[in-house]
Structures are given as structure tokens and as C-alpha cells.
């Protein structure tokens, strides 16, 4: 409940990269012009990333390449960084994430880093907000969450949506910092391709990953959906990251270090 010491809180929502992106700030200056300017700079940086990386737009850098991988020798530094991160993601996920041969939104098969770019761009742009002194940050980009709260303030409470019943929650996590990312088929159908099988993945309905970095939480969640039910063992071995997985037949399983209220792997869904 409200007390006299409760800091102000304010939200902003914009549609960027085809997603609703919301910014919630808690702190004394949420009504200040300087804070609003930083929020605008955050959204502007996301829009700029979309101008470069959107595979939906024929006029973006990636759109013009139409599925060809950018040449690291001539690409601008941000593009080169994303290409290198995609390769790192392929290695870290044992090939479950592979940007090199994906179905493209405008047809054909080719290089599509979109599964990594969202997390990369949000994490990068978030510096505009996490640099603000005395302010707590809760960002949500299409269901992927980045958090920061001062030690003397309450942690953020993150609901994990039930993929079988959007609008209901599977679990609630309390986090003072880091990221919570969910990938799955609940909202857009089987849109995640299993790069090892070359076809849409369908055995896993959703995976939620909690950990320090949004980029990697998102990549691991997407990779686990692509990788199928054996992905839980792989997720459990990741250092610093924990996960909750819902199979296509509705069973809910978590890695042993899952910080929510759900029981660990093997326990059946309630």
C-alpha cells in the first residue's frame, strides 16, 4: 500500500520493432522533463535499431541484403557486433539458435538475426534508463523483461504468463535486477524454427528464462523452444540462468534453481 515514502511511478508505451514496448520508472523524477527526454532517447535508439535490422522492411540494412549475411569487413560496427553475437549464440546453444538459415518474413531462407536483435537492442538502449540515479526500471518488450531496482527498494514482481491461458499466470518472480524472457507458440503459433531439423518446432509450448542479461535470456528461451523437450537438461546446465518450460501437452517443468514458486523438474503441472 502507498506510504509517504513511496516514490512516484510512471509508464510509457510505444510500438517499436512491431512490438509494444513499455517503460516503467519508479523514482522521484518521473514527471521531470529530463527523465522524459531519456525515455524518448531509449525509444529513439530502438527505432534506429529497427531501421537497421528489420527483416520485414525492404529499406533496412538487413532488408536490402535479403537473407545474405552482412560482410563483417564492410558492415558498420553495430551490424558486425550482431553478426558476431549470432555466431556466439549458435555455439552457446549447441546449434539450437542459428540465424543463418531461417525462413524470412518476405520469403525465402537466409540470415535473420531478429531472434537476437530484440534483446540486444533493448539491453543496449536501456542504458539511457539504468544510468538514471535514484530510479528503478522495469522494461517490457513484447513479453521480455529487463529490471533494475535499488537495494533499498522493493523488487519488481514479474508474472509469468500461462501459455495455455493468456491472462492467467503460471508463476510470479520477485527480481531486483536482470532479465526474464519468454519464447513460445502461445501468441504467434509455431513461428520458431528448429534449425537442426529445418522445420517449425512444436514440442515445447513455452520457455521462460531468468538470468542476468536480456540478450542471453531471450536467446536461450528461443533456443530451448526450438530444441524440443530435451532442452530442459541443457537449460539446467547454463551458468547463471534458470528456466521454466511448458511442453506441448501442458506439463510444466523447471530447472532446479528456478526462483519462483514452481517445483523443480519432473513435478507435474498443478
Amino acid at each position: 500500500m502507498a506510504t509517504t515514502t513511496e516514490p512516484g511511478r510512471r509508464a510509457w508505451v510505444e510500438q517499436v520493432m512491431g512490438l509494444p514496448v513499455s517503460v516503467h520508472l519508479r523514482g522521484p523524477g518521473v514527471r521531470d522533463e529530463a527523465v522524459a527526454a531519456r525515455v524518448e532517447a531509449f525509444f529513439a535508439e530502438l527505432r534506429a535499431a529497427d531501421d537497421t535490422f528489420s527483416t520485414y522492411r525492404p529499406d533496412s540494412v538487413l532488408g536490402r541484403l535479403a537473407g545474405r549475411s552482412p560482410d563483417p569487413a564492410t558492415a558498420d560496427p553495430a551490424v558486425r557486433e550482431v553478426v558476431e553475437l549470432c555466431e556466439l549464440a549458435r555455439l552457446r546453444t549447441g546449434g539450437r539458435f542459428d540465424a543463418r538459415r531461417l525462413p524470412l518474413p518476405r520469403g525465402g531462407v537466409g540470415f535473420d538475426p531478429s531472434g537476437l536483435v530484440k534483446g540486444w537492442a533493448v539491453e543496449r538502449a536501456a542504458r539511457w534508463l539504468t544510468d538514471l540515479a535514484d530510479h528503478d526500471v522495469c522494461l517490457n518488450a513484447g513479453g521480455d523483461v529487463l529490471l533494475r531496482a535499488a537495494p533499498d527498494r522493493p523488487a519488481w514482481r514479474v508474472g509469468v504468463e500461462d501459455p495455455q491461458s493468456p491472462g492467467h499466470l503460471l508463476d510470479v518472480l520477485e527480481r531486483a535486477s536482470g532479465a526474464v524472457a519468454t519464447s513460445g507458440t502461445a501468441r504467434r503459433g509455431a513461428h520458431i524454427t528448429d534449425p537442426r531439423a529445418g522445420r517449425p518446432a512444436g514440442a515445447v509450448r513455452s520457455v521462460t528464462v531468468v538470468g542476468p542479461d536480456l540478450l542471453w535470456a531471450d536467446v536461450y528461451a528461443t533456443a530451448a523452444v526450438a530444441g524440443g523437450p530435451d532442452a530442459l537438461d541443457w537449460l539446467a546446465a547454463l551458468d547463471g540462468y534458470a528456466a521454466l518450460l511448458v511442453t506441448a501437452d501442458g506439463r510444466v517443468r523447471a530447472t532446479p534453481d528456478w526462483p519462483g514458486t514452481r517445483p523443480a523438474a519432473g513435478a507435474a503441472a498443478a
Binding site: 500500500m1 493468456p166 504467434r188
Partner: protein, 142 residues
């Protein structure tokens, strides 16, 4: 009472938000922005501490047309959300109304009981946002 009022306002706002991300004209009195920011006290919009009653939001003009909702509160909880006015000028409006109002009602009730700040879920598209739990939470703080 504050929490109820916040949710009352947020539900009004979320229904408005179904039709426009940037709408700031949500109703139930001039205090709405202070309350929705989570900084204020009791909005006192006729609730008189009884925690029960029916509340009609003011008519909000959106890009698609006027929106007005009625919220029923019983024993300190929102028990119902109905649309008094919704844009229905075309088939698509009607489709959105048919699914969004019941889903948003359910979402508002779920978030009210879980007391959460945000929601992680499979990628929400811009269309899907209109009916999402996150939309209801965002609207409470715009």
C-alpha cells in the same frame, strides 16, 4: 480504497488502450493521472468507502471512436467490466469488441489478485497487446 480505485481507473484506461496506445484521456475525474501514477491517495469518485457500487467512466475519444465502460465493484473487488460505448463502425471494430472486452475483464481480475508489475510471455504482437495483461498494467501507470 486506493487499490480499487487504481484498478477501476486502470480498467477504464485499458479498455481505452484497446483502441490507441497513446490515448491519455481516460476518465473518472481530473485526479486520474495522479492516481494512475501510483502516488496519490483516495480518488474518492463516489466510492465513499463502501467498496461497492457501479462506476461509469467518462467517454474517451479514441482514434476509432468513443469508448465508455462501466465497472462493478463488490466487497472491494472489481467483479464486472462492461462496455457502454465502443466503436462499432465496421466489422473489425465488432470483432475486436467481441474478444477484447471479455479477455481484458479476465486480465484485470488476474492482475488485481496477483499484484504484479509486469508480465513475461511469448512475444506479444501489437494486435495481441490490446487484450494483454501488460496493457492493463501499463494503463494503470500512464
Amino acid at each position: 480504497m486506493r487499490r480499487i480505485t487504481v484498478w477501476l481507473l486502470s480498467t477504464v484506461a485499458a479498455l481505452v488502450l484497446l483502441f490507441s496506445y497513446k490515448t491519455s484521456t481516460m476518465g473518472v475525474g481530473g485526479e486520474s493521472s495522479a492516481i494512475a501514477a501510483g502516488t496519490g491517495g483516495d480518488a474518492g469518485t463516489g466510492s465513499s468507502g463502501t467498496g461497492a457500487g457501479r462506476y461509469d467512466g467518462s467517454v474517451a475519444q479514441t482514434r476509432w471512436g468513443p469508448v465508455q465502460v462501466r465497472i462493478t465493484v463488490s466487497a472491494g473487488k472489481i467483479t464486472d467490466v462492461t462496455a457502454l460505448q465502443m466503436p462499432d463502425g465496421n466489422h473489425r471494430d465488432q470483432q475486436i469488441n467481441d474478444y477484447a472486452v471479455p479477455i481484458l475483464r479476465q486480465s484485470a481480475l488476474a492482475a488485481q489478485s496477483a499484484d504484479i508489475d509486469t508480465v513475461s510471455g511469448a512475444t506479444v504482437t501489437s494486435d495481441g497487446y490490446r487484450e494483454s495483461l501488460q496493457a492493463a498494467i501499463d494503463a494503470a501507470h500512464l
